[in-house]
Subunit: 330 residues, 2 copies
């Protein structure tokens, strides 16, 4: 069949065929293949759980697609929490009429990214809604990880800590925007979409206080949340912000602030000053952390305040994202 | 604010307000309130995991709503697998313009049903898409349960086993259909939507071989799956099928076969003949199992075949659901 039909979501014969010919074919593993109402998987005394839905538009973009994004987003939420991502569930809402080849491309991408991240898909669900009641494909992934002895939480952040980021900022936001608007850059901007768990495994050491992935709302919103939760202020330096040339010129041209653009393969990492150099070196030794750098410092001062020291030496407040300039970025 | 706006899904200030004023207000608990990228919850050596998205239309119907359904569906998938439902994640995809009071009504219903089932919501996510890109509200719930020593699986089913159901069939399907089509019955048909975990706790005993909740595709499709997985055939008796008077007359009037209608608060339970009476008595002693009854028997014979002995004494094959007569039933 060339296109998805309502009956693919009926729970009947066509649903079963889709499971066998597409999901089990590409994603099959002993847990998924149990074919029971719930999968039975090995747990631990403490587990980490996170859920995320993905509604990105367009479905395919430079550097990724909605399937890759759905795995990376959930793997990264587990990894920055200090957990080892292990299992993911996959729930699809499909619009009637979706091209089967697009769905297959997404499922293959999910399979590849899951393999890269070392996680397995253990349970799934597919619903189909009438044409016009959804926009092509929405994906939910829910992740389960094993809690480690990595103690990371905003409560550990102290004045004097350094704020690191594992690479350039704004790439995902600009990649999606340029896809939508048909913008062309000399060097095309690729989404940074990537699973971060293996990178984190290489640089984590005691002294790493807190990690977050600055997705929707960008670095600015994430740091505002952390500063509020930790009851500290933070000072960023504009000259330290790592931007690719294309993202920098896109932001200038379009009047966008890269601090608010989404990232899908970066971690903000707050570390004690005594380990900052060591953590940075380890980040930079990994392909996903080559451009890792310091961007600022935690300070005493008004709780929740994030400041930016500009190129000219002035300071301005960097607030939480207001409104929404780029809907459906993830 | 009276309506959901795109900025409620931005990850910025309005997202935070929605979390505080709606989700934490009604669903708050120590796990959810951690407000980290992933919740840390107590696990077990073996855990059960299941995921389901809900796209039911309309959102509100006699006997339930999409929120209640989203909790029941996932709780029941865990419970019929023999697990004790413990934790649920909640991911919402909202259409821009959704009435805030409708969302609040759904969230309250989720809170009530979660309390009734004894589970907690540990992680959440909200995305908002432009008006016309989704139909009001889609919900994903993913559930985690603790594996018990309840051994239930299709592999245990043997010829001679009895097929029980915990109550009348087709109520959810007819409730949704009558809501959509404006049908009125003398006795209105309510969805049977209910969490089954506590009912199952009261009747489970060794000798219960397999349990399933016959949702999409109905009793017919679920028994076809079981008969195939177990390599047996099954014989149902039409005179034993429990139907409410209203569902019975609706099916006659509309030419629908109740065996294919969705149920959202019923379990099919296959038991060894030696415990059938005891299990039935225990079911009937619980408010959700009052109309529990035998509907047929497992037999030798062609693997995967489900037969119905009609009122007139003839036999016909009951196949898996073909096509889709009631899209967006759950």
């Amino acid at each position: 069949m060339e296109r998805i039909m309502l009956a693919h979501g009926s729970g009947g014969r066509l649903s079963h065929e889709l499971i066998l010919n597409l999901f089990q074919k590409h994603l099959g593993n002993p847990y998924l293949n149990q074919m029971n109402d719930a999968a039975q998987v090995p747990g631990r005394e403490q587990i980490a759980v996170t859920t995320d839905s993905f509604v990105v538009s367009p479905l395919f973009f430079r550097g990724g697609d909605i399937g890759k994004l759905a795995i990376c987003g959930t793997v990264n939420d587990l990894a920055v929490s200090g957990a080892i991502p292990k299992f993911i569930t996959l729930a699809l809402i499909l619009e009637e009429g979706l091209l089967m080849k697009d769905l297959e491309r997404i499922i293959k991408s999910i399979a590849e990214t899951a393999a890269e991240a070392g996680i397995v898909i253990v349970s799934g669900d597919t619903k189909v809604v009438e044409r016009g009641s959804a926009d092509k494909v929405f994906i939910n992934t829910t992740g389960i990880g094993y809690i480690t002895n990595r103690l990371v939480s905003p409560g550990q952040i102290r004045p004097g800590d350094e704020i690191l980021i594992t690479g350039t900022i704004g790439d995902h936001g600009i990649a999606i925007l340029s896809e939508r608007e048909g913008l062309e850059f000399q060097t095309p901007v690729l989404s940074d979409c990537a699973p971060l768990n293996k990178l984190i495994d290489t640089f984590y050491l005691p002294g790493v206080k807190c990690m977050r992935d600055p997705t929707r709302g960008g670095v600015a919103t994430t740091l505002n949340e952390l500063a509020q939760q930790a009851g500290v202020s933070m000072l960023l330096k504009e000259e330290l912000l790592p931007l690719s040339a294309s993202v920098g010129s896109a932001c200038e041209m379009l009047g966008l602030d890269p601090l608010y653009l989404a990232n899908e393969g970066k971690a903000l990492v707050i570390v004690g000053p005594e380990v900052a150099d060591e953590v940075l070196m380890k980040m930079q030794a990994h392909p996903l952390g080559q451009n890792a750098t310091r961007i600022g410092q935690v300070q005493e001062g008004k709780s929740g305040l994030v400041l930016l020291e500009t190129f000219l030496g002035g300071k301005r407040i960097v607030g939480m994202l207001e409104g929404e300039h780029l809907p459906r970025i993830c």
